[in-house]
Amino acid sequence: MSLLGRATLLLALAAAVYAVVAALTSRTRGRRGWQESAERAVYGFCALMTIAIVTMWAALLTDQWDLRYVTGYSSSTLGARWKLSALWASQPGSLLLWAWLLSVFATVAVLLNRRRHRELMPVAVAVLMGIGAFFAFMLAFVTSPFETLAVVPANGSDLNPLLQNEYMVAHPPMLYLGYVALAVPFSFAVSALVTRRLDATWIAAVRRWTIFAWLFLGIGILLGARWAYEELGWGGYWAWDPVENAAFMPWLLATAFLHSVMVQERRGMLRVWNMVLVVLTFVFAVFGTFLTRSGIVASVHAFGESTLGPFFLAFIVIALVGPLALIVSRLPLLRSRHSLESFASREAVFLFNNLLLIGLTFATLWGTLYPVLTEAVTGDRITVGQGFYNTIALPIGVALLALTGVGPLIPWRKASLAQLKRRFTWPLAAAAAAAPLLLLTDAWDRWVVGAIACIAVFVLVSIAGEFWRGMKVRHALGGVSWPGALGQLVARNRRRYGGYIVHVGVVVLFIGLAGSRAFVTEGSLVLSPGERGTVGERTFVLEDTSRAVDPHKMSTAVRLGVYKDGEREATLAPGRNLYLASQQPSTEVAIDSSPTRDVYAVLVKLDERGQAVLSIFVNPLVMWLWISGLIIVGGGVVAAWPARRTARAPAEAPEGAERRATA
C-alpha cells in the first residue's frame, strides 16, 4: 500500500507540474491545444490524488501497521468512523486532505469556467496547479503519509481521545473546504492581473467561490468552538488560541472581500483593494494551515516540531510578493471608475466595515505572532493574554454590529439629509424604547451588554424594515399573498436578502456572545452519593455513580439531579474515560441546554468510595451561538444559491428599461 501511495503522489506531482507548463505554453499563439492538454492534466491530478487519499483511508481501515502514520494515529479497537477521521489528525494526513480538496476544486473550477472565462483559464490553471504541485511535493518528499516502519508493531498507539468526538470529525474538513476553496479566487485574481483583463469578469467568476469558502470557514470555526465547549471541559468555547485565530483571520478577510466586492460591482471603486484582499485572504488561509501544522507558535493543538517551516514560509512569501508586485505593475489599469461622493453613502459604510475588519485581522495577527516577533527581537518569547484580544475585538465588534444596521438604511452614492432622517427614525426609536425595557432584565448589570442589546434592536428593526418595505412593493405589484411576496422578494434578489439573513444571524451571535461571556456562574462541588451542593441559584444532588470497562476504555460516570427553586430542572450525567491504549484520561462533559442558559457539569474525579469532584458552570444564552450559526449558514446558502437562468432573460428587464434606454 505504501508503494501504491507513494507512486500515485509522485505521478500527481508530475501531472501538476506538467499542467503548469502546458497551461503557460498555451498562452503562445497557435498552441491552444496545450490548454486542453493542461485541463486534462488537472483531471488526471484529481484522479491521482483521489487514489492517494482512498489508499490512505483503506490503510487506516484495514490496520496496516507497517505504515508509521497508521500506527501513530489508530489502533485495532478504534471505531471505523474515527479511523477515517484519523486522516486529519496530523500533519501529513491533513496535507493530503488539503491537496485532494484542491484537486477537486481545481477540476470543478475548470469545468465551470473553461468556456465562460477562456481568456483567464491558462494562468488560473497554472496557478492552481502550481499550488497543487507544492502540496504534492511536500507529500512526496518532505512529510510523507506513506512512510513505513522498519519494525512493524502489533497495534497502533491510538487516536488522541480528544479527537474522538463528532465535532472533531467534521471540524477540520469544514475548515479545509474553506481554506482550499480560497485558492480558486486567488488563481483567478492572479490570472486577471497577468492577462490584464481587469474588468468585472474575474469578480463574477470568483464571488460565489468566496461565499462558499466563507461559509465553510464559518461552519468550521463554529464546530471548533462547539468541540472546545463540549470536549475540553473548561466551560468556554473560544480562547484566542493561535489555531483559532488561524481560521478566524481568513474568515474576517473573506467577509471584508464579500462586502467590498459589491462596491466594485456597483460603482467600479476599490479595485486595487479587492485584489489585495483576495491575495491576502488566500495567503492567510495557507498561513493558517502552516500555523496549525508547523508548531511555530505554542498552542493547545501544537503538532510538535516539524520540518515544514522553511517550505511553507517560502511558499507564503511567493504567494504574497508575486501577486502584490503584479498589482503594483498594473496600477494604471486598476484605477477607480468613480470616486467617493459622500460619507453618507453605502459605499462609505462598506469602506468603514472593511477598515474595521482589516483592523481586527491585523490586531489578531499581531497578537498571534507577538511571541515569534519578540523572540526574534529580544530573545524572550512574550505573549499577549486574552485580555489583549478582548479589548480590541469588543469595540471593533460592536462598531461592526452597528454598521450592519446602518448599511441598509443608506443608499448608494449619496443620501440627502431628509431621506436619512426618515430612514433612521424607526430603528433609532425602537432602540431607544428597548433601553428601559432592558432595565427589567439584568442586561444592564454590565453597561456594555446593555449597549449591545440596544444596538441589536436597532439592527433588527432596520433589517425588518427592509423586508417589510420590500414585501409591500411585491404585494402591491401583483396579487400575491404576503408569504408569497416574501418568497418572491428573496428569490428575486438572493444576494441582498441572503445577506440580511446573515446579518440577523450576526445579531443573534452577538447576543449569545454577550450573554455567555458576561454572566457566567462558576463553582466546584465535592459530593458523596446522596449529598447535595449549591452553585449560584441551583442545587445539585449526586444520585448515582457507575463504572464500566470495555476493551477500548475504562469509563466512570455520575448522575446529577439539578434543582432550581425546589423543582427538578434537569438530570446531568458527566463522565470521565481512561483510554487504555494511550493511558490518557478524557472528560465527558454533560450539558443541559435551554434557550436561556446551559448548565454545564464536568466530572473531575470519582474516587473509590464514590465521592465525586465536580466543576459546574452556568452559561447564559450559549445556545444562541449555535442557532446563529444555523441562521448564518441559511443566509449564506440563500445568497450563494445560483439564480435561475430565466431570471436573466430580457423579459425580466425593468419596465423595458433596455428599450427605453435605447430610445
Binding site: R68, T71, G72, Y73, A89, S90, Q91, S157, N160, P161, L162, L232, G233, W234, A298, S299, V300, H301, A302, F303, G304, E305, S306, S339, L340, L351, F352, L355, L356, I358, G359, F362, A363, W366, Y370, P371, D380, R381, I382, T383, V384, G385, Q386, G387, F388, T391, I392, P395, S524, V526, S582, Q584, P585, T587, V602, V604, K605, D607, V613, S615
Partner: protein
C-alpha cells in the same frame, strides 16, 4: 483627487487607531514566556516547563480544592532547575508527568502562584511526541 486624500486619511486613522489600541492592550497584557530558572518575583509570566515526577495522579481533583494543586515542574533544557507551582481550576486531560505545560502566574515566596484556569498542556499527537523526545535526548 479629493476623494483619494480622504481615503488616505481614513486609512491612516484606522492604522493609527489599531496601533494605539495595540500598544495600550499590550501594556496590560504582556506575559513573557519563561522557564523555571528565569523567573523574577512580582512579574506575570507564562511558565513553560515539563511536569516533574511526583505530580499527583488525581491532579484534576486537587486543583478544585481550596489549597489547590501543588506540583513541581522542571526546566525543559536543564532538568536540574525546578520550581513548585500552585494551581487552581480546570486541568487539561493531557496533564501528566513528562508533559510540557504552560501556566500563567507570578512568583511569590519561591512558589509559582498560577492564575485560575490558565493551564495549557501541549498535546502533540503521539508518534511525533516520541520523535521529539528522541531528538531531545539525542541532542543532550
Amino acid at each position: 483627487m479629493r476623494s483619494r486624500v480622504r481615503f488616505i486619511i481614513a486609512i491612516c486613522m484606522a492604522v493609527g487607531l489599531a496601533g494605539v489600541l495595540g500598544v495600550m492592550s499590550l501594556k496590560g497584557n504582556q506575559q513573557t514566556y519563561a522557564s523555571p530558572g528565569a523567573l523574577v518575583a512580582g512579574k506575570t509570566y507564562r511558565l513553560n516547563a515539563t511536569v516533574a515526577p511526583g505530580a499527583p495522579a488525581d491532579a484534576a481533583a486537587r486543583a478544585q480544592t481550596a489549597e489547590g494543586l501543588r506540583f513541581t515542574v522542571r526546566d525543559k533544557a536543564n532538568p536540574g532547575t525546578t520550581i513548585d507551582v500552585v494551581y487552581r481550576g480546570s486541568v487539561p486531560d493531557t496533564f501528566k508527568v513528562g508533559r510540557d505545560i504552560v501556566v500563567v502566574g507570578k512568583l511569590e515566596d519561591g512558589v509559582f502562584q498560577a492564575q485560575r484556569n490558565s493551564m495549557i498542556a501541549q498535546c502533540p499527537s503521539k508518534f511525533q511526541a516520541k520523535a521529539d523526545e528522541a531528538a531531545h535526548s539525542g541532542s543532550r
